[in-house]
Symmetry: C2
Subunit: 251 residues, 2 copies
């Protein structure tokens, strides 16, 4: 059985302008990893209806679950619900379930026109509970529409979690290597060729004494992961020994 997959559309001019650093991508990636759902692609688009529709319709048919963050508040720049309705070709309607939630949230201040904007939901959608600030997200088809404020987004993910069909968890091992990756690249590629069912990534970073490498192995098969990790550990030990004792000149 193929494992479930996902994609994310982040909606927000403030991310693209550099004013705000996104926090939701990593939070969603970790949430999905915990459910064994593979995140295949993320797109960040501006607060523009055409851009949102293109991203949502470009991704939703190719993954099990699509998520969006941002643009579902009460202000003029919150256009996600209208864009999703357009993407699905359905009308945007005042949702009575959402009206009741908002009426309970604002008993004194009342349901102003601005607040009722947050109850405008594409026809046929289910609501996603917001345990932080009440105003709900919604799901239509396989598309889950969430708030952009990180604490609210995370709260909505907890509401969504029981509705997702999990996959088998991807297990991972990390092997630190106190050598630059060019010292191990050839032999690491050979191990990758031996283990097509294990994904082996090599991540350089600057250490205190030059570049070091972290090798990350990922697989759904624990035995294969262990075998590949043992090979990588042996390779790293060999590479470090070679660097300490270079081979004599063959001439």
């Amino acid at each position: 059985m193929p494992e479930p997959t996902a994609a994310l559309v982040v909606i927000g001019d403030e991310i693209l302008s550099g004013r705000t650093a996104d926090l939701n991508i990593n939070a969603l990636a970790r949430f999905l990893a915990g459910l064994g759902i593979d995140l295949k692609e993320v797109r960040i688009v501006s607060d523009d209806e055409g851009a949102i529709v293109a991203a949502v319709n470009g991704l939703r048919s190719s993954v099990t679950y699509l998520f969006t963050t941002g643009g579902i508040g009460p202000t003029h720049d919150d256009i996600t619900a209208a864009a999703i309705a357009k993407a699905f070709g359905v009308p945007l309607v005042l949702d009575q379930r959402a009206v009741e939630i908002l009426a309970a949230r604002y008993p004194a201040a009342g349901l102003t026109e601005a607040r009722l904007r947050m109850a405008m939901i594409p026809e046929g959608a289910d609501l996603i509970a917001n345990p932080v600030s009440a105003a709900p997200g919604f799901r239509i088809g396989n598309v889950h529409v969430m708030a952009g404020v990180p604490a609210i987004m995370r709260g909505m993910l907890q509401s969504i979690a029981p509705t997702l069909v999990p996959g088998r968890i991807v297990l991972s091992e990390a092997v630190p290597a106190e050598v630059g990756e060019s010292f191990i690249a050839g032999r690491l590629g050979a191990i990758q060729a031996d283990f097509p069912d294990v994904s082996i990534g090599s991540y350089p970073r600057m250490g205190e004494r030059g570049f070091v490498t972290e090798i990350v192995l990922r697989s759904r098969d624990a035995e294969r992961l262990a075998a590949a990790t043992a090979d990588v550990r042996a390779l790293v030990e060999t590479a470090i020994r070679e660097r300490a004792n270079p081979a004599p000149d063959p001439g």
Copy 2:
């Protein structure tokens, strides 16, 4: 004259798995903002040739400049150069300029097959200098291919900067509002309607005593920005006064 635009393709399984939080999106966004170049879209894709080709070819014709980060090192999972060559329909060739740079970098250890992988560049590309670790990036057409390690990516951006045609800088003002955004949403929308040449964003966040809002105004026209900002400041003062002294019941 239309302003220059840009898009970014982030290549990296480690971002999609949640293992690593991306730092390059915000760094590039701020770099481009400083040059008056509008970042229109970001896509994060896996270390997969088909995914890279699709993202690059899906974006490069619609923007002035396309950037990519990640996947140009010496290991088997570094497949960006080959994917870009495929996207442009040109062969991947051993670039003698890159060979010389790498030979100078590794005088003792030598140019192993793994290191020479970093000199395999799409035919017709120009090199992008890497002031941190020598191995170059490259530019082909409007596509700028950079390393994923943040310090190296930032170094390459400094190399690229003089080659980009800047636009007019987008000026911005931020107005803090100690009220939730639903208290100002309607009137804020009216100001946005008065100033179509100013982009007005409303960003809620949780403060110590409930939700507060930051209103961010952005425009290339300083006078219009100032006028819209004055209107927003007056609106916020009114909203705070109203909350302190609610209107008497009209009945």
